[in-house]
């Protein structure tokens, strides 16, 4: 709270100083010179800004933000005192110097306060606190105006200057107090130095889409504000027919009332609006309000339309619009922000002022425009402003997204970099090495290299004396689809004994053209190596006009091998998966699936997956429950595709099925994907069964990964999300009832189990969110929320808050992830689901009644530990439960009673 109040006070003092300085500089200048000089002096101010800002930006690059703010405020305060002395000494140029000084530097004062605020708070804190700081600014403007109005005539306008200087000295002290012992970016200078800071800042803005959009919004907003200000003054002048007293009185009342309304609006609504719709939507309040005024002026140049348009501008610009605009800067990297924000606040907004003046000159002096005509110009800029804000809205979320993104590098990318990083001849040297291990490593790298010379060396390695080198070379040639290796591949086939490597070689030959492949396959039919000959026969049998000897050769080998020892049976099973299906061979395969030899079964499973015979599916599904065949069976069943979904869904639904079968079924459904698999997986989640739940969620995530456009039925997912989050709050509420009991071992263990369940529900919520929103975004957000870095956590929360606007889940999820104390979550649980903490005995009774077997187990143990007799009946009932662990624990607990 301390930095918030200090920054609010800082802005109050800064704005009060700015208003005092503006009033005094205007008064002093106009008392000495003709008002007609003002446009020229303003032009000089604009030029001076262009020159001096360069020095300021250069200076700011050498200092840490905290030090920069503190020193700038001191220098400004000291220079005001010097100007005051010059005025006091009646120095001729003093009024002009003061006017120029205020014109150039006054805008810097509030800008620095906001920069400091953006660097002090995280995104989430800023969203809550910027309205408080903004209120300081509004009050400061009111105080500064009132003070100058009251004391100016009494003590002399120039005598107000030391007061403004005092306020700036105060600001310097506050800046030091805020940054004392704070974060690195507040206390360390930027590591990069630019030779031409203004050009460097302009370049940074131009290449960053987000900053460019902010700049365009600033330009549109400033131009519209200036045009409306002119319209207001012109209408008021016409209305009061140049009655100076009437105008002064009207102006006084108008700005007075608008300030009061603005402050009240800001104090009561700004923060709520920001929380409700976020800064990217809150930015629309000002342009939409002004749009109504500008449209009013378009139809009638009445004083009421002018009051409405200008009132909207003054009322919202310094309240919700300022707070929202400043919030846009918080997710920008601190270094970039430090280098660009001052440029944006001073150069861009000043430039936009100049642009508005040029437009007015062109319309009034060249086009003889009326108030309505100026409204058309305002309208054009307003629509452009709204368009920019709409684009900026998405970009704000994208910028937050970028700050929380985790960049992974795949093993393949890493190997590609490794292959590219070595000297160009290193790979060739490795491939030609006499050491088989060196060659093997080089072959592995060649897969990720684009070096053509290295690829050409691979073919010769297909007949290398080392089996490992030969196989790796074949894998690499196949993956690179290297051309012109047919002869070496045919030789490789004769040397090779491994089934998969041979398959790879045959596939390679097929890719090189059917003629070459067929010639090789026919020549291999004569091979004494029977499995190789049978493989060639099987491949020939896939062609329409295959030689009849292929069929008989294949049948003979398969039958003979299926009756041999385990090694032969493995080969028979492998061969069966190669050829088009024939009934009698299917019987052999089915018999091999029942083999007592795991290797035979494994090979048969793979072939069954390749053949996809419906009658083999039930057997495969049952094999899913056997751990040793896990991967092979999953792949085989996955190969059946949609054909397997009904059987897998039934296994997942079957409460009496082995947990492993249920888990594997979920995994296979995830691999198959599609509408039916998704329906089955979501149905499992809706049944609130604990078994296989993590696997089901992973499977859904996998489907989402593979098919990002798949429709998961948002209505169902939303219902699941509500249910999962409700369980999260229920678990926290139950944990609260254990607070005083968590010292005994079993109670402590139960408390830990509940804590794990809390984490699980949140984890599930993010997986489910990933089915509605981009999965990667939700994973990153969850990861960053769990991270120890408060800035990343805040950005992730703000990202979620903005991303979920319009979703019912937003209100339920955010307290669960944002509240860092159980108390906050408990309050949210009470508000959202009417959940109240209950005493320990009730916690145990509720857990014993839950469908979550693990929590029942822990509750049984804890109930026995603390002799909760009220739980005895339920525990006795659980001694007959189907789950062996729960049964065992309940029996032990019952005995303790």
């Amino acid at each position: 709270m301390r930095p918030t109040l200090l920054l609010a006070l800082f802005l109050l003092m800064g704005m009060a100083a700015v208003i005092c300085l503006k009033a005094v500089s205007d008064a002093v200048f106009l008392s000495e010179f003709d008002a007609r000089l003002l446009p020229y002096v303003d032009l000089v101010v604009t030029l001076l800004v262009g020159v001096l800002i360069n020095y300021y930006l250069s200076w700011s690059g050498r200092l840490a933000l905290g030090s920069l703010v503190s020193k700038t405020q001191t220098v400004l305060a000291a220079s005001i005192l010097v100007l005051w002395l010059l005025l006091w000494a009646n120095f001729t140029w003093a009024p002009i110097l003061l006017y120029l000084w205020v014109g150039v530097f006054a805008i810097l004062i509030p800008s620095q306060v906001w920069s400091l605020s953006a660097a002090t708070f995280t995104t989430r804190q800023a969203k809550r606190l910027f309205t408080v700081i903004g209120a300081g600014g509004i009050l400061g403007a009111a105080v500064g105006g009132s003070f100058t109005g009251f004391f100016g005539p009494r003590i002399g306008a120039a005598s107000v200057l030391p007061v403004a200087a005092g306020l700036l000295f105060g600001g310097s002290w506050i800046a030091r107090a805020i940054t004392k012992g704070k974060r690195q970016d507040l206390t360390s200078p930027s590591p990069e130095k630019a030779k031409a800071p203004i050009l460097d800042s302009a370049r940074l803005v131009s290449i960053n889409r987000y900053l460019l959009l902010i700049a365009l919004a600033v330009i549109a907003s400033t131009v519209v504000g200036t045009l409306v200000k002119y319209q207001f003054k012109a209408v008021a002048q016409a209305y009061f027919e140049a009655d100076r007293d009437g105008l002064a009185s009207f102006g006084g009342y108008f700005y007075g009332y608008v300030s009061v309304i603005s402050f009240l609006f800001h104090a009561t609504l700004s923060s709520r609006i920001l929380r409700w719709i976020g800064p990217s939507f809150a930015l629309f309040v000002l342009p939409l309000a002004m749009l109504s005024g500008v449209v009013g002026l378009l139809f009638s140049a009445s004083i009421f339309a002018a009051i409405w348009a200008r009132g909207a501008d003054q009322g919202f610009r310094h309240s919700i619009d300022r707070a929202s605009s400043e919030l846009l800067w918080v997710p920008v990297a601190s270094d970039l922000r430090n280098r660009v924000k001052s440029f944006m606040d001073i150069v861009v907004s000043r430039g936009a002022d100049g642009l508005a003046s040029l437009i007015l000159i062109a319309l009034l002096y060249l086009g003889d425009a009326t108030i309505q005509h100026i409204s058309w110009a305002s309208l054009i800029f307003l629509l452009a402003w709204l368009l920019v804000l709409w684009t900026l809205r998405g970009e704000y979320i994208q910028t937050l997204r970028t700050t929380i993104e985790r960049r992974d590098i795949s093993a393949e990318q890493l190997l590609q970099r490794l292959a590219a990083s070595g000297p160009s001849n290193e790979l060739e040297t490795g491939l030609a090495s006499s050491d088989a291990q060196d060659v093997e490593v080089a072959v592995g790298l060649a897969q990720f290299s684009n070096a053509k010379a290295a690829q050409s060396q691979l073919a010769s390695l297909l007949v290398h004396e080392s089996e490992a080198v030969r196989r790796k070379a074949m894998t690499t040639i196949a993956s690179l689809q290297a051309e012109g290796c047919e002869r070496e591949v045919a030789a490789f086939l004769r040397l090779e004994t491994d089934f998969d490597s041979r398959q790879r070689a045959f596939d390679y030959l097929d890719l090189q053209g059917s003629v070459i492949a067929r010639e090789t396959e026919e020549s291999l039919l004569q091979q004494p190596d029977q499995p190789l000959a049978a493989m060639a026969a099987a491949r020939l049998m896939k062609r329409s006009d295959y030689p009849s000897q292929a069929d008989s050769l294949f049948q003979n080998v398969v039958v003979a091998f299926s009756e041999g020892g385990p090694a032969e049976q493995v080969q028979a099973a492998q061969l069966l998966g190669l050829a088009p299906i024939k009934q009698h061979r299917s019987d052999i395969l089915s018999a091999l699936l029942d083999s007592p030899e795991p290797e035979v079964v494994r090979a048969a499973i793979r072939s069954t997956g390749a053949l996809r015979q419906t009658e083999d599916l039930p057997k495969l599904i049952l094999l899913l429950s056997e751990r040793r065949y896990g991967t092979d069976t999953r792949q085989a069943v996955t190969a059946y595709g949609e054909q397997a979904i009904a059987a897998l869904s039934a296994a997942l639904r079957d409460d009496s099925a082995a947990p492993r079968l249920q888990r594997q079924s979920a995994r296979v459904l995830g691999s198959i994907g599609g509408r039916l698999a998704t329906q089955s997986l979501l149905a499992h989640l809706r049944r609130s069964r604990e078994i296989a739940r993590p696997d089901v969620l992973r499977a859904l995530g996998r489907i989402r990964d593979k098919t990002p456009d798949h429709d998961f039925n948002n209505e169902v997912v939303n219902l699941l999300l509500q249910s999962v989050l409700r369980r999260f709050y229920e678990t926290v509420t139950l944990s609260a009832g254990m607070r005083d009991e968590a010292h005994a071992p079993a109670a402590k263990f139960l408390a830990l189990a509940l804590r794990e369940r809390q984490d699980r529900w949140l984890n599930e919520a993010f997986v489910l969110l990933g089915l509605i929103y981009p999965q990667r975004e939700m994973r990153d957000a969850h990861h960053r929320i769990q991270s120890g870095r408060r800035d990343l956590r805040a950005n992730a929360l703000e990202f979620l808050d903005s991303r979920l606007i319009g979703s019912d889940i937003r209100a339920v999820l955010l307290p669960a992830v944002e509240e860092q104390t159980n108390r906050g979550i408990l309050e949210a649980g009470k508000r959202l689901f009417q959940l109240d903490p209950v005493p320990y005995s009730s916690v145990l009774r509720r857990l014993l009644d839950t469908s979550d077997v693990w929590l029942q187990v822990c509750a049984c143990h804890a109930a026995a530990e603390s002799r909760q007799t009220a739980c005895h009946a339920k525990i006795t009932e659980l001694t007959r439960h189907a789950d062996p662990l729960l049964r065992e624990t309940a029996l032990a607990a019952s005995a303790r009673f």
Binding site: F749, E756, V857, C858, H861, L885, E888, A892
Partner: protein, 153 residues
């Protein structure tokens, strides 16, 4: 000592450094393969030069580690013998003998790997715990390279 239930064993295993970060449900899985052993004073758990076939956690009592007949160090309740034996088959450098009547939990290596194969989540968490431990050993070495190594737990 009376026979512990699976949940009791899980609670005891939680105190083993290697398993301290495992989720409670996974501790119960480990507990389901942990056997409770009662040793009489003087009984040998592991012979010097022989591979250690299991991880042992002392529930109650004391185990002395001897080399060449000399007691090098001893372990007591909730301390473990053979943490690394689960992952390698190197012969033991000490002989472990019960210094008094001692109760142990034994997790057999083969059963342990069967469990890991069935439950990838246990494997993941265990690897995290192991890497955490290796990192802390490495950083301790970097911070005080002259410190002598602490006896293995």
């Amino acid at each position: 000592m009376e026979q512990l239930t699976t949940l009791d064993r899980a609670i005891r295993l939680q105190k083993v450094e290697l398993f301290s970060d495992l989720e409670t449900e996974m501790l119960a899985l480990l507990a389901s393969i942990a056997q409770q052993i009662d040793l009489k004073k003087g009984e040998t758990v592991v012979e010097e030069g022989n591979p250690i076939p299991a991880l042992y956690t002392v529930l109650d009592g004391e185990i002395e580690m001897r080399r060449g007949g000399l007691v090098i160090y001893s372990i007591g309740a909730n301390e473990t013998l053979g943490n690394w034996a689960l992952f390698d088959r190197e012969p033991s450098v000490v002989t472990a003998v019960a210094a008094q009547d001692t109760d142990l939990l034994r997790i057999d290596r083969e059963e342990f790997f069967e469990l890991l194969a069935d439950h990838s989540a246990v494997t993941r968490e265990l690897f995290q715990a192991l890497f955490k431990r290796v990192r802390s050993i490495l950083s301790a070495g970097i911070e005080s390279p002259t410190d002598s190594a602490t006896p293995p737990s």
